[in-house]
């Protein structure tokens, strides 16, 4: 029996949505969260959509339908934004003195609001949770940099790490073992060259577009692997005050990018203008052999092109370490929110193991690690591709710059530094030095 791609995608979407809505009552009855049905008052929540993760969207819809149903006397208002809309909306509303009681933000956004004193501290014990429930890096993202008190200004909602995904057929065509992941970044460059020489296709999908978050997300793991850093994020404790982006580790990572793009020419020529979506499209068409992928990318690749022979492994290590960007989101409570009973009830529901597992969708993992053993996680495991790999990667997670000026450094400074090298405008040393000057200037300003 043959099936068109469209029919497959529709069927897969319908199946995922069905899985998403079907077990709501069953899981809720598992006893990990008992709603206070007599809760009154008001609660305003802003969240952002898990789209295009069909399963994740179905879970969000189920949760935001279920929660007010369990609290019939609560006036519950929820607004769901698109990912890119959420940050400016929050910024404008908080600056205007308004904003929701509760908001979920990407990790990279948390630090600016925490620095601006917009969020109020959260007491995990009051929610029946403890620090042991969460990854240490996740807790770092909801703390004030250098604050010895360890006060938490939010609660992690979901966390993930990226992995290396490859096309086994292209590996075979290049005479490489399709089951073997490149162990080091140097190996990856050699693999990439070999694949390109033997097949004519790009060995590795390089993402180097300007003003594009995907670019630093994929460069930073290489930089960290070579011992480089933007600030002192690899040190304990991290102060986020010492600028280290001009170090030899960054230069080595830029050298590797230069080797891939200019020397070996083993990556796609359009790399300077490619975001991850472009690389994923080329990967789907069998034009790119390896890419750094988000957990949901593999599932999406499989659903869009079931014939592609996918394999996944840990991101390669460098001379200093194996590293990946520690990703995810946090939930925050607006400072001055007087309806803490209602807020706590929402947080308890969101962080309850079954809901926390489900709300992580296919693109992430539950932040509450108790959820790793929840019945919902077992159901979710059946839908996830290579979750063991991405899960194993989390331990190597390093945080993005947890400073208020992080957006500029992440979206502007790092992509510009990479483009200068790839376009041969400056040497890697000079590009790194200019990036350091830019970071210092931004931090001074």
């Amino acid at each position: 029996m043959t099936m068109t791609r469209r029919a497959f995608v529709e069927a897969a979407g319908a199946a995922l949505a069905a899985v998403g809505t079907m077990p709501v009552r069953g899981w809720a009855a598992a006893g990990d969260y008992a709603p206070r049905r007599d809760l009154t008052g008001e609660l305003t929540v802003w969240d952002w959509s898990a789209a295009p993760d069909t399963y994740g969207v179905a879970q969000q819809q189920a949760f935001y339908h279920w929660f007010p149903e369990q609290h019939p006397k609560l006036r519950f208002r929820m607004t769901m934004y698109g990912y890119t809309d959420m940050l400016p909306k929050l910024e404008v509303s908080y600056r205007g003195g308004g904003g929701p009681d509760v908001a979920r933000t990407a990790i990279a956004w948390s630090s600016r609001f925490i620095a601006a004193d917009v969020f109020q501290p959260i007491d995990l014990a009051r929610l029946g949770l403890s620090a042991k429930n969460f990854w240490p890096q996740a807790l770092q993202t909801v703390q004030k940099p250098g604050d010895p008190s360890g006060t938490l200004y939010g609660i992690p909602s979901n966390n993930e790490a990226m992995m290396l995904v490859w096309n086994k057929a292209l590996f075979r065509a290049a005479g490489l073992d399709p089951a073997k992941t490149p162990d080091t970044w140097d190996d990856l460059a050699s693999y990439s060259k070999r694949i390109h020489d033997k097949t004519g296709q790009a060995g590795f999908g390089l993402v180097a577009k300007l003003n594009n978050g995907n670019t630093p997300f994929r460069f930073a793991p290489v930089m960290w692997a070579y011992g480089g850093s933007i600030f002192d994020e690899l040190a304990t404790p991290t102060t986020w005050k010492k600028v280290g982006i001009d170090g030899p580790g960054t230069v080595a990572a830029l050298d590797l990018y230069n080797r891939l793009f200019n020397v070996d020419k083993s990556v796609e020529p359009s790399a300077l203008n490619d975001a991850q979506a472009d690389v994923a499209t080329l990967f789907l068409g069998g034009k790119v052999a390896m890419m750094i992928a988000h957990p949901s990318d593999a599932a999406q690749a499989h659903s869009l092109n079931p014939s592609i022979e996918l394999a996944a492994g840990l991101l390669p290590r460098g001379p200093a370490r194996r590293a990946v960007v520690f990703g995810g989101s946090n939930i925050h409570v607006r400072k001055g929110a007087s309806n803490m009973d209602q807020v706590d009830e929402f947080l308890r529901a969101y962080e309850s193991p079954n809901w926390n597992a489900r709300l992580a969708g296919l693109g992430s993992n539950p932040a509450n690690r108790v959820a790793e053993h929840a019945p919902a996680q077992k159901e979710r495991d059946k839908l996830l591709l290579f979750n063991d790999v991405t899960f194993e990667m989390i331990q190597y997670g390093v945080n993005v710059p947890l400073v208020a000026q992080g957006a500029h450094i992440w979206n502007e400074t790092i992509p510009t530094m990479i483009q200068k090298v790839l376009l041969k405008q400056t040497s890697p040393q000079q590009a790194a030095a200019e990036a350091a000057a830019d970071v210092r200037q931004v931090m001074r300003a």
Binding site: L87, P88, E91, Y94, R95, R112, A115, A116, D117, V118, A202, K209, L210, N211, N212, E268, P269, S270, A271, L272, N273, A275, L282, G285, K287, A404, Q405, A407, H408, N411, E412, P415, T416, Q419, K420, L423, Q425, A445
Partner: protein
């Protein structure tokens, strides 16, 4: 009785009627004026106000910093690059729109058969959404497997693919071409309407005098079309100046800001770097430049109109 009017009545009426007729138009204009104040004047005034404040990312409080934001904008080398890109983008796009639009309008105007279908086909880019057009052209230009590179390579015109969108020299021209494709039908439409108002007897007279087609075009058609051309050029220039979608989707302003234009630059300041004060200052600078351009343009337009 009704026909009998006293001198006193006439005097009062004579005084009241002009007053009423003076007031009534303002009453009718009020709703539109109020709307304009709310949606245009207030945001503009607020932007000017905001431009004098530092709106730091690490604090929700604003600090009055006078002209510091303006100094920061003028100290940023990227700003000059972006202004230069915007001038090139606007001038090249507008000129190409007018030339292509004129050629298309003349061609359609002279068609004897299939005028409707041809006009519809030429209008097609105009009705396609900006996002759709941007993605379509993105894949046409795609350096690895795009149609343009693929065709040129297959025909042995080029030895290796040209990375149009990641080339420092070619990215902006490539985007301008996309923009012209998208916007020239507007010029065609305006000029086609204008062509249909050119007095036929003047053209006939020129032909009787054995004037060449070229001379007829320059001496008869262009002067008759001048007011339409001026208005079309102004509308296109403003539209092109405010463009955002094509560079945003196709290159994100890269490589190294070579294809970044002012709307993208301001958007990045405001919504990527979340520096609203800086973005407001840039907006004010650009508004002042546009205002100067508009004043000059309106004078030229007025001169053209009075000459006509």
């Amino acid at each position: 009785m009704g026909a009998v009017r006293t001198a006193a009545y006439d005097g009062i009426h004579a005084r009241r009627a002009p007053l009423l007729s003076r007031v009534v138009p303002y009453v009718f204009v009020c709703p539109a004026l109020a709307l304009l104040l709310v949606v245009t004047a207030y945001p503009f005034a607020y932007s000017v106000y905001l431009s004098f404040f530092r709106t730091p990312s690490e604090s929700m409080r604003w600090t009055f910093t006078g002209l510091a934001n303006y100094r920061a904008v003028f100290a940023d080398p990227v700003f000059y690059r972006v202004v230069n890109n915007t001038v090139v983008w606007t001038a090249a796009s507008t000129l190409a729109d007018l030339v292509l639009g004129m050629i298309a309008a003349l061609a359609v105007n002279n068609l004897r058969v299939c005028r409707g279908p041809v006009r519809a086909a030429l209008l097609l880019p105009y009705v396609v959404g900006y996002v759709v057009a941007s993605y379509a052209w993105l894949w046409l230009y795609q350096g690895d497997y795009g149609l343009i590179d693929g065709t040129l390579t297959a025909w042995h015109v080029i030895a290796a693919p040209i990375p149009f969108l990641s080339s420092l020299a070619l990215a902006l021209p490539a985007l301008i071409l996309t923009n012209v494709w998208k916007t020239f039908p507007f010029a065609m439409l305006m000029l086609l309407a204008g062509l249909q108002t050119v007095p036929e007897q003047l053209v006939m007279a020129a032909r009787l005098d054995r004037a060449s087609s070229w001379r007829t075009f320059w001496e008869i058609t262009v002067p008759a079309l001048w007011p339409v051309l001026v208005v079309t050029a102004m509308l296109l220039a403003l539209q092109n100046f405010h463009s955002f979608t094509i560079p945003w989707i196709m290159t994100g302003g890269g490589p190294l800001h070579r294809s970044e234009i002012i709307a993208n630059y301001i958007y990045n300041q405001a919504f990527t770097q979340l520096d609203f004060g800086l973005a407001a200052a840039t907006s004010c600078i650009i508004s002042a430049l546009l205002l100067a351009f508009a004043v000059v343009y309106v004078r030229v337009l007025g001169r053209g109109a009075s000459a006509r």
